[in-house]
Symmetry: C2
Subunit: 191 residues, 2 copies
Amino acid sequence: MDLLIRNIENHFSLTPEEIQLISTFWDIKSLKRNEYLLRNDQVCRYDAFVLSGALKLFFINQDTGKEEIVSFAIRDWWASDLKSFHEQTPSDMNIQAIKPTSVAVITKSGFEDLLKTIPKLERYFRMILQSNVAAWTYRTYLRNALDAEQRYIHFLKRYPQINREIPQYLIASYLGMSAEMLSKIRARFAR
Amino acid sequence: MDLLIRNIENHFSLTPEEIQLISTFWDIKSLKRNEYLLRNDQVCRYDAFVLSGALKLFFINQDTGKEEIVSFAIRDWWASDLKSFHEQTPSDMNIQAIKPTSVAVITKSGFEDLLKTIPKLERYFRMILQSNVAAWTYRTYLRNALDAEQRYIHFLKRYPQINREIPQYLIASYLGMSAEMLSKIRARFAR
């Protein structure tokens, strides 16, 4: 939980009492490699903060049956399907552990209670969501405005830690190219 | 401004004094058809709320030079490049009026002052951003998980008002298909 508290304290300071209180709203969940935090057609039960390990968020392409990577969540990042979580409706998305992963999770009712108890956290979540929207915009820019090599160069620059922690074939899917294409681009870089 | 106040009041009630105060933070801006609210390489000066008309948000594909539609903003919706707005860095995005459009705009410093003055608006913006993240997730689902016809069916169901207000060739770009493909799908529906 310390990592989550530090993440909040990047935005504003908390009193020892607030830190104590905040911690009571979260549970720690351990996921084995390939274990799911969310499966499509289920309601997203948790908003999750990654303490260690890595998650992939993906859809299944209904035509090809293939995974389409939406995003990754590594240490110190949030992961959930917010629409499903807040509306408590079935999700189209899957969230699965790429490696053994530990997450701090909060339920929808826990989340509402937390914000009632400590209203100043509204500001924290507003700022997290702002970054999230920015990341989505950037993702669309990568996918729609750049060629494959430029996508990879931009991605490397912006997310060096994801590049280190996530298998290359998943990064290829995230960037909208085949694993072969990514491997060719990497080979050109290595020269 | 009434429309923006009503939008906030969908989430919680405001006192007459708060309504008066909130209004002082925004300016009204009129855009002619094809006028830009933001051009790429400029800093996004405003967070904007559409009072009437319609905006398109798009990138230029650096390979083809073509517009890649990111999203639309019609009456009662927000539009900005939040990363550029909050970090005051140059944007990759363009925001342009599709028809004569009126927007309520707020600057970055105005936005910070507003939240200092009326902290309970943190909650409003948190909820707006939540919907925004949900819309982005859905957009990725449309683009990556469904075939062209399914994309159009889902889109129609979720955004009937956009379908009425936005030219079809722009909707085709948003859905990641050619205008000819969309027109074929629509013809099949009309039978």
